[in-house]
Amino acid sequence: MKKIIIYLELGSILGLLVCGLWIFLKLPVETSQGFPQKIMYLHVPTFIATYLAFFVVFAFSIAYLWKRELMFDQIAKVSAEIGLIFCALLLVTGAIWGRPTWGTYWVWDARLTTTLLLFLIFMGYFLLRMSVKDRDKEARLASVIGIIGCLDIPIIHKSVEWWRTLHQPSTLFKVESGKASPSIPSELLNPLIASIILMMFFYLYLLLLRYKTEKSKEQLNRLIAETQV
């Protein structure tokens, strides 16, 4: 596992740096939004990584409730932590991008509000984990909150279609005449897809690194408990 973590660390971080050079040095400045459009290459991959992290929480929370294996809860917990950071950065980068394009950092628009709700649900998820002392009870309750919280993701995704929003429709899956296709030219699309793939590897790296730390902490707690007995 140590080797995989090192390969993922080097691969994803170097890849993201190279992708950054491609975006800033090779790509032309987009005509309608100007230079702030470059935030898209950070905001959209962060958005996909948030989805991925919370999907992992959803899947492993179900797995925990089904099998009652502590490992599943540990994976759900670390993925929720990483997802929460991605979600916070999604809100921050979105607000920063909103200022030059919409003229405001924040509006109570359906997409933004449902994303904020997701962030708050997972803040509650960690507050719950901190407040319950019994490890099994903590895992059980957190799994339920994790599953309920993830039900917000399809609402976030569909919010730009269901309600009239200031937020633009999906860049990658814009639905036109029944078909979902990207709404940007391939020149701008290719680095975006590369950033998304690299961001997924970066998420995987964080997940493994954090999971290894979590395992060490659990082992330490067990050892402390044993030595006290």
């Binding site: 935030i39 950070l42 290894k212 902490k217």
Partner: protein
């Protein structure tokens, strides 16, 4: 100079700093946990309780 460059620098800067701090903190806490585990494992067989039990 590009118009709106400050927004791009702010977005990329915040993103980069957040993960740099997160990765460093995670690695630090892993190192501390591993060192403590090693220390406990080395100490436990030497403790008087254990030697009494062996004796």
């Amino acid at each position: 100079m590009h118009i709106g460059i400050e927004y791009v620098i702010a977005a990329y800067g915040i993103w980069f700093c957040t993960f740099a701090v997160y990765i460093l903190m995670t690695k630090r806490s892993m190192r501390i946990a591993e060192k403590t585990i090693e220390a406990i494992k080395q100490k436990v067989p030497e403790s008087p309780e254990n030697t009494d039990k062996k004796g």
